[in-house]
């Protein structure tokens, strides 16, 4: 070590210190990128153990690759270091945005994911060997190694504490990656500045500022780019958002639970949707003697169809849903389609994108079993789908011994709305059989079976159900006192009383 106290040694010394500091920053950033990728992958693909293991594996291996490749750099190591910092800042900073976009737009999410992780890993892997080589003349080797590695591991600790305690809850995944990208680039800018006397590097400086500007723009516009602007309205991280012609589709994910929202209303939680869908489909379906032709109105998420396909007697299912964006998503997108067990790809299923009421008016087919899974009657447009006129039209499409199952809001939270649907179904000439089930994420939920003949309790259900069995089913058809029938008016096109019931009843429970 050079012990002479000349200005130049002093200067070199402070540069060395600065470089050591940047080791800390670099290490923190590197681990943050890795954690981000792992977290996003487990949001998107579930099964966090697998996601984190594979990502850590790929990342570490790539770092090794980077370290190996460092041997090919000989000249002007400072410049190479600055260049790499800028690149890590760019790649790492954009990582969340790229991964979210990849999830929404491509089916090749995994390819993008692992390529991105590998790229980041290689670049990060280059950093430490380069720093070691730059500083090798400033410190004795043992001192250098101990300094660099301890700072590296300290950075790791900082990252692993910051990430769960501050970044995920406060800053959010997207902004975190930008913030750390910015940090990386600042290291590059600082290095440029320190070594400006020896090396003037206008190109690198310009590059650094350009990337900085890009990342800062990203901070401001990434939500717009991803269409995630209402992210804060959701309790869990948003992993997907898209506006179709008809509605806003948002998916959130936390701890392996995916929730789907349409226009902000919860459609299902992947944890308990089986309760809702089994209860909607099987009591009615199993009671039909020969359910060959089945119609589903609404339910573009394909969950109802998944349940129906469990019954081998069903030959053909027609799914009529307004929104092609929904049915496409749940047919083609691997993550969403997996939720319905790829039901919409079955050769037994035909998907029609049409407005249900209009479609019913025009169609002449008859069905043995019909499921109606419309959104709740919270406005006048949707309210039309719960009127005597609609149910009369439905009657014309139901085989004489067929059954229609109708999702009917909550008999507990919207008691009048529920019984209004029951009465409206009766008024349309049906035998109406109400029942209910507890779905934790919705609360107590109600359904009505509409049939021309009195409903017969089914004797057997398909094998692979998680909720329904013969024992429990009859109990669903009895109503506790606080959900018993109340006097209500019938819902007609010209009064739409149901919309009022629905609003007022739910209003009582609103915070």
């Amino acid at each position: 070590m050079d012990e002479h106290n000349t200005p130049s040694t002093d200067d070199r010394h402070s540069k060395s210190l600065a470089l050591l500091c940047s080791v800390f920053a670099i290490a923190t950033c590197g681990l943050i990128y890795e954690l981000l990728a792992g977290t996003i992958a487990s949001y998107m693909l579930g099964d966090s153990v697998t996601q984190f293991s594979t990502i850590i594996g790929v990342y570490l291996f790539s770092m090794g690759l980077g370290s190996y490749l460092s041997r090919y750099f000989h000249k002007d190591l400072i410049a190479v270091f600055i260049q790499i910092e800028i690149l890590v800042g760019l790649i790492g900073g954009l990582s969340s945005l790229v991964l979210f976009m990849a999830f929404a737009e491509l089916d090749a999410f995994r390819v993008v994911l692992y390529s991105w992780v590998a790229l980041t890993g290689i670049l990060v892997g280059l950093e430490i060997p380069l720093v070691l080589r730059i500083l090798k003349d400033q410190f004795p080797f043992s001192d250098l190694i101990s300094k660099v590695l301890s700072l590296d591991y300290l950075g790791g600790l900082a990252a692993s504490l910051l990430f769960p305690l501050w970044l995920v809850p406060q800053v959010g995944l997207m902004q975190s990656s930008f913030v750390f990208g910015v940090l990386n680039v600042l290291v590059a800018v600082w290095t440029c500045h320190l070594f400006r006397a020896q090396h003037r590097r206008p190109i690198l400086t310009v590059q650094a500022y350009a990337v900085l500007a890009l990342l800062l723009t990203g901070v401001a516009f990434s939500e717009v780019l991803l269409d995630f602007s209402e992210r804060r309205l959701y309790q869990d991280p948003v992993i997907f958002a898209r506006s179709s012609r008809y509605q806003r589709i948002v998916a959130t994910q936390a701890q392996g639970e995916m929730r789907l929202f349409l226009n902000g209303d919860l459609q299902f939680s992947s944890l308990d949707e089986y309760r809702y869908h089994e209860a909607l489909v099987h009591p009615g379906l199993a009671s039909v003697a020969s359910p060959q032709q089945v119609l589903v109105l609404g339910g573009g998420d394909g969950m109802v169809v998944r349940e129906i396909l469990k019954d081998q007697r069903v030959q053909h299912v027609t799914l009529v849903d307004l929104d092609p964006t929904m049915t496409d998503l749940f047919t083609d997108h691997r993550v969403f389609a997996a939720l319905n067990n790829y039901a919409l790809r079955s050769p037994r299923v035909e998907v029609v994108n049409a407005d249900a009421f209009v479609w019913l008016e025009d169609s002449t087919s008859r069905y043995d079993f019909i499921v109606i899974d419309f959104p709740d009657p919270s406005n006048y447009s949707l309210g039309k789908l719960y009127t005597t006129t609609f149910y009369r039209r439905l009657a014309a499409h139901l085989a004489p011994d067929g059954v229609a199952a109708i999702q009917s809001s909550s008999p507990l939270m919207a008691r009048r709305a529920f019984w209004c649907i029951v009465e409206t179904v009766r008024m349309a000439g049906f035998d109406a059989t109400p029942y209910h089930v507890a779905v934790p994420s919705f609360g107590e939920w109600g359904y009505v079976l509409a049939s021309h003949e009195p409903f017969q309790m089914p004797e057997r259900f398909p094998e692979n159900l998680r909720f329904l069995n013969q024992l429990i089913t009859p109990a669903l058809f009895t109503f506790p006192t606080d959900m018993e029938a109340v006097p209500v008016e019938v819902n007609r096109l010209n009064n739409q009383i149901l919309v009022r019931y629905q609003k007022e009843d739910w209003g009582q429970f609103a915070p």
Binding site: R245, Y246, L322, D355, A356, F357, V358, E361, Y380, S381, L382, G383, K384, L385, T387, T388, T389, R492, L493, N494, N495, Q496, V499
Partner: protein, 562 residues
């Protein structure tokens, strides 16, 4: 860029000599509430369409080509509005085949005409029909024939197909800077009652119920539909001598909002304001139907009824035919049956050549003011008492329905009546484009001046007036509008001004002129589908009775009316 203008009542009144009287009405525009501003109307297409004013001018100017050929047609119906079409409908239904209907416009329907574009069908005039009361037997018969009756209720009353009964939400009102559901007096006064409002409303409603329940010694309603079946008790008839404004003043009903509401109803049904509507006519509006009346409506409005009848009369109907002269060929002073007949001179507006039709009977289903120019030798003392309100109707095509739109959307304190939504009865759930039919009656004391003013406005003027009126209640509406077509109805509706309904000229208007019988809503003095149909069916039945053709009356118990 167009400067939108908020046309005020005062602007309109400047056109009219009796400014002072009209200003007494409690519904002056609050000028200054809306700021005039510039908006971008660049992408809005459209034009002034329809109603052949030029042809009307030609009629008055004379000098039309003389007939080149002569045809014989036993019965000619002149005019294919609801009255003329209904006459044809009744004849055809009774197996009477030898008649022709001559209509000036390319499309039949008159004030109930309709149009269509790629978004929707829409009305150009009449847009709804209240569910008929038991007196309106012919209306019931027609609706049943149209397949509108779904079922029969326990009391044998028809139950109408809910698809065609106006869906909820039916009406909304923009008042105090926001939209509220419903426009009835009760809903209106419920929001911000001034002192005394509630008491006046209670009195008003009590009077409505009293008149609704009234039956005279012969069992007739105070106000019936058709109006010819109303009671002629002197107390009731006396109502026709004063205006509704006077009635309000006498009753001490000073409530501004109640006045606005009744004024709105008068403008809506008669194109007349509170001060120009006879109190009899105004009460007729509120009391001729049972409570809680429902409306039948279709995208094309009453055009749906026109379509139905026209389909059945296709081979009888000749459009593009200007009837410019009708002359009796024998002295009408002698007994009716002995007249030779009638010459009907018609200009085919497409070929610009004329034909003379020799008819034995004519049903004259044009507004009566035309008789002065068309019907040679016809004299009706006091024919000038037939005066007509001008209306402007516009159809606005929009990319997206305004948020929260009801079927009928009314703006408090506006000169217009607001708009109805043509796609309202649509069963679609998905939001989509629509057509809004915007109505503006020029309800001022002097319709002549208003008519001239109206015909002088350019399309740009109308666009700025319409958007200026709607803008305060619809932020950014102009960016949704792609097309505005405007129809100017010079003589849209007969005006039931005080004294007209129970006066001599109207009563005598029902009398036949030799073999020429009359049929038009203006003979009732109130312009309503039920009246037009009644007059048409009645003329057809009288004609068949006179020529000895057997028929079953559609007018049921209808007694001799006036």
């Amino acid at each position: 860029m167009t400067a939108i203008r908020h046309l005020t009542r005062r602007d309109l009144l400047r056109l009219s000599p009796s400014v002072a009287a009209a200003l007494a009405v409690g519904c002056r525009s609050r000028t200054g509430r809306f700021v005039d501003r510039e908006i971008d109307t660049g992408r809005i297409a459209g034009s002034i369409v329809g109603a052949s004013h030029e042809v009307g001018h030609r009629l008055r100017a004379g000098g039309l080509p003389e007939p080149q050929e002569i045809r014989d047609v036993p019965v000619v119906i002149v005019g294919a509005g609801i009255a003329g079409l209904s006459a044809g409908w009744k004849l055809a239904k009774s197996g009477f085949r030898d008649f022709e209907i001559l209509e000036l416009e390319t499309d039949a329907g008159g004030n109930s005409r309709w149009g269509a574009n790629e978004v929707s069908a829409y009305p150009w005039g009449a847009h709804y029909l209240p569910v008929p009361s038991s007196e309106s037997t012919a209306v019931r018969e027609l609706l049943e024939e149209m397949g509108m009756v779904h079922d029969l209720g326990p009391d044998g009353d028809p139950i109408y197909d809910p698809r065609h009964l106006c869906h909820a939400p039916q009406e909304r009102l923009f008042i105090d800077g926001r939209w509220q559901e419903g426009i009835s007096a009760r809903e209106l006064l419920g929001t911000a009652p001034a002192p005394g409002d509630q008491a006046m409303l209670a009195e008003f409603e009590q009077q409505v119920r009293r008149y609704q329940d009234y039956r005279d010694a012969r069992g007739r309603r105070a106000f019936a539909l058709p109006m010819a079946l109303s009671s002629d008790d002197p107390d009731l008839v006396a109502l026709d001598r004063i205006s509704m404004l006077e009635y309000f003043d006498r009753a001490g009903w000073t409530s501004e909002r109640l006045r606005w509401y009744v004024d709105y109803c008068c403008r809506d049904d008669y194109g007349c304001s509170l001060e120009t509507t006879s109190a009899w006519a105004a009460w007729h509006y509120f009391c001729s139907r049972d409570e809680e009346v429902e409306y039948l409506t279709w995208p094309e409005g009453n055009g749906r009824i026109v379509r139905h009848i026209v389909e059945r009369l296709e081979r009888h109907l000749h459009s593009g035919m200007l009837v410019y002269r009708i002359r009796l060929t024998a002295d009408p002073g002698t007994s009716e049956t002995s007249t030779e007949g009638v010459d009907v001179d018609v200009l085919d507006t497409r070929t610009n050549s004329s034909v003379r039709i020799r008819a034995r009977q004519v049903i004259y289903a044009l507004p009566r003011f035309t008789a002065t120019h068309v019907l040679a030798g016809y004299e009706l003392p006091g024919i000038d008492a037939f005066s007509y309100a001008p209306w402007m109707v516009a159809n606005l095509t929009v990319d997206r329905l305004p948020e929260g739109a009801a079927w009928d959307n009314v703006i408090y304190d506006s000169l217009s009546l607001g708009y109805v939504v043509a796609t309202h009865q649509n069963l679609r759930v998905a939001p989509g484009p629509s057509v809004l039919t915007y109505y503006m009656p020029l309800a001022v004391p002097n319709p002549e001046v208003a008519r001239r003013w109206m015909l002088e406005r350019s399309w740009d003027d109308w666009v700025s007036i319409i958007l200026g009126d709607l803008a305060p209640a619809h932020v950014g509406l102009e960016s949704l509008v792609t097309q505005i077509d405007v129809m100017l109805w010079g003589h849209a509706m007969i005006r039931p001004v005080p004294g007209f309904l129970w006066g001599e000229p109207r009563r005598r208007a029902a009398e036949a002129f030799g073999p020429v019988r009359f049929a038009h809503s203006d003979m009732s003095g109130i312009s309503l589908f039920e009246e037009a149909q009644y007059r048409g069916v009645r003329a057809a039945e009288d004609l068949m009775r006179d020529v000895g053709h057997a028929y079953r009356s559609s007018l049921g118990l209808a007694e001799e009316g006036v």
